[in-house]
Amino acid sequence: MKSTIKWRIGFLVVIAFLVINFFVFSYDLKFKLMNVALFSALFVLIRTVLGPSPADRIIAIDILGVLVVGICALIAITFDQSFFIDIGMAWALQSFIATLALAKFLEGRHLDE
């Protein structure tokens, strides 16, 4: 019963965001698509702040690293500059290495093992 009410509130929030984003203001479509990606990043930050265990926070940071690659690709087609995709590629590399190091640290081993 309680979970159904929560589901309805979340559904209303998402629908309200989509209507305000796509139909109220009028500007370029690419910026509207970028707003959706940034709204997803907001959910990742909720999990980072609330997460009960360290593993939840590590997952959230990992997922944020993959999302930023998509946001970089959207910025690249918005401003027509190809070097933003290079930034995304470097970000993906760094995020992968950081996730491996954090996982090893969580397991209780030292980094030089």
Partner: protein
């Protein structure tokens, strides 16, 4: 024409990104969150990059996303394995709905 296909691919990618992140918030424990987030966000970002490739064609900006897609599809599962194994060894509990845990039973093997 290619612009419309590119926009459709980007919209599909953004929708799956959003579902994955929603799973990260809604599901009950570390392993389930890891499943939803890894699959959906990887596929969604690959969709966005494929849309950029379709829109730009064979130019400098069109071929870099292909390298990005290959890289993401190769590395995202590896980091998921690393986090799941480390979380299980750090004794982070599974949720109450869990039916069976064969890995816990075989713990003396490693």
């Amino acid at each position: 024409m290619s612009e419309i296909i590119g926009y459709i691919l980007i919209c599909i990618g953004l929708a799956f990104d959003f579902f994955g992140v929603l799973g990260l918030v809604r599901l009950p424990d570390v392993y389930n969150r890891l499943q939803a987030a890894t699959k959906c966000v990887t596929f969604g970002t690959a969709g966005i990059l494929a849309g950029v490739f379709v829109m730009e064609g064979y130019s400098s900006m069109g071929l870099k996303p292909i390298i990005c897609i290959i890289f993401i599809l190769l590395t995202a599962p590896v980091s998921a394995h690393a986090i799941a194994r480390a979380a299980h060894r750090a004794k982070i509990k599974l949720t109450d709905k869990t039916i069976v845990d064969k890995y816990e039973e075989d713990k003396e093997l490693y």
